[in-house]
Amino acid sequence: MRPGKLAEAWNTFFFAPQSPIPLSLFRIVYGGLVIATLLMLRPAWLDWYGPHAWVSLSTMHQVEPGTRLNLFMLIPQTTAWIEAFFWVCLGSALLLTIGFLTKLNTVIVFLCLTSIHQRNLFITHGGDTFLRIAGFFLIFAPAGAALSVDRLIRVRRGNEGPVVEARSPWAQRMIQFELALLYFAAFCSKAQGVPWLDGTALYYVYHLDELRRFPLPAWFLHPVILKLGTWLALALEFSLGVLIWIRKLRYYLLALGVLFHLFLEYSLNIPLFEWDVLSAYILFIDAADLRRAWHWLRGRAHAIAGERAVLSA
């Protein structure tokens, strides 16, 4: 490809306006996942982050030195302040989900997530990391451009028309890249390990007592099946990291990815991780296809409601 063509393709990919509906839908799911994360931590907010937590603020700073964006370093280390901090996070995540003062709340949610993670790095998992990084790029994205209270207000005030305007997608692209990077980096790390290459990795994973969730059929734990599963996981992570950018393959890979993560959600106890990752799949769906899916769902809902009305009459 000639340099001129390459630059043009680059500009089109990152900056040619496109519908912000996938991004707005992602914002709603993202906000819901942040709320779920905070609520699941709720019984132990003080145990993990309080003044007498499992890891103190000073120890965390000693273990991970350096200047860090961490609001816990600024607020007084009292129970009331720490609880208030979490309620502010929760409130902000709720406002982000409904899309009210969206820009401000993307900033607050990112600051809160970063601070929570920096405060105790010993309990975060990959899903937390993904939410944090995606949250950073969401700050720069037109996350409230559609499906939001902000848009309703703008339309009511006459500042916007009934059609949602196309916007520059560069921040959405960065979140897409983050998802692809997640898979590709995971593939590269695994490809360096002997158990992943000789096919025994899943044998160990599925015999870790602490990770077990719902029971698996005995045939799944047969060495041959686990070996195939190990290599399939490797191939899928590579494909979702690299081949996802090929438009013709995208929906097939997304479908496989959904099945892969649902299987992990069923079999392994890693709360919210799969949903955190799956949330970003929305960003790979064309707005037109989302619209078609929405109309189909609405049609089905009306048909079912109609059938019920006839039956009850």
């Binding site: 120890t59 200047t67 010993f122 995971a186 160990y204 106890n269």
Partner: protein, 142 residues
């Protein structure tokens, strides 16, 4: 490597640091858990365990999974810096009796996962090791 050292502080500061290596390059090859032995001034002792996912209900293990991650880190010698805080936390949570806590011992238990040619899984025997002992000070219980 030089560029990595150059950009790392910015990534660390901003929260953009990340590593994607689940079960890689090598998955854990042991089952493990951590318990504490709490020794009181009057000589009594009490075994206290961090929540073990395999012993919890499906709902509880979903909500308390952070303990799994924490215990996984706590047992590592490379994380010795967090042991005193953990011992103090355990001392505070076990100091509601008549006798104050005198000492907390942290014990790790582990059992190797050994693949067998026939595919059968036979759990290996458990090993244990006291990896930290902490003498509790009166101010720790405040």
């Amino acid at each position: 490597m030089a560029y990595r050292n150059f950009i790392r502080p910015y990534f660390v500061w901003s929260g953009l640091f990340q590593s994607w290596d689940p079960f890689a390059p090598t998955p854990k090859i042991i089952n493990s858990y951590v318990e504490a032995i709490v020794i009181y001034q009057d000589g009594n002792t009490r075994n206290w365990a961090l929540p073990r996912m395999e012993q919890l209900s499906l709902t509880d293990r979903y909500f308390q999974e952070r303990y799994r991650k924490y215990a996984e880190n706590l047992k590592e010698d490379t994380n010795a810096a967090i042991w005193p805080d953990a011992a103090r936390f355990i001392a505070r949570h076990n100091s509601n009796g008549p006798s104050p806590v005198k000492m907390v011992l942290l014990v790790r238990y582990w059992s190797f996962i050994v693949p067998r040619p026939d595919g059968e899984y036979v759990p290996a025997p458990w090993d244990e090791h006291v990896f930290y002992s902490y003498t509790v000070q009166p101010e720790d219980l405040q």
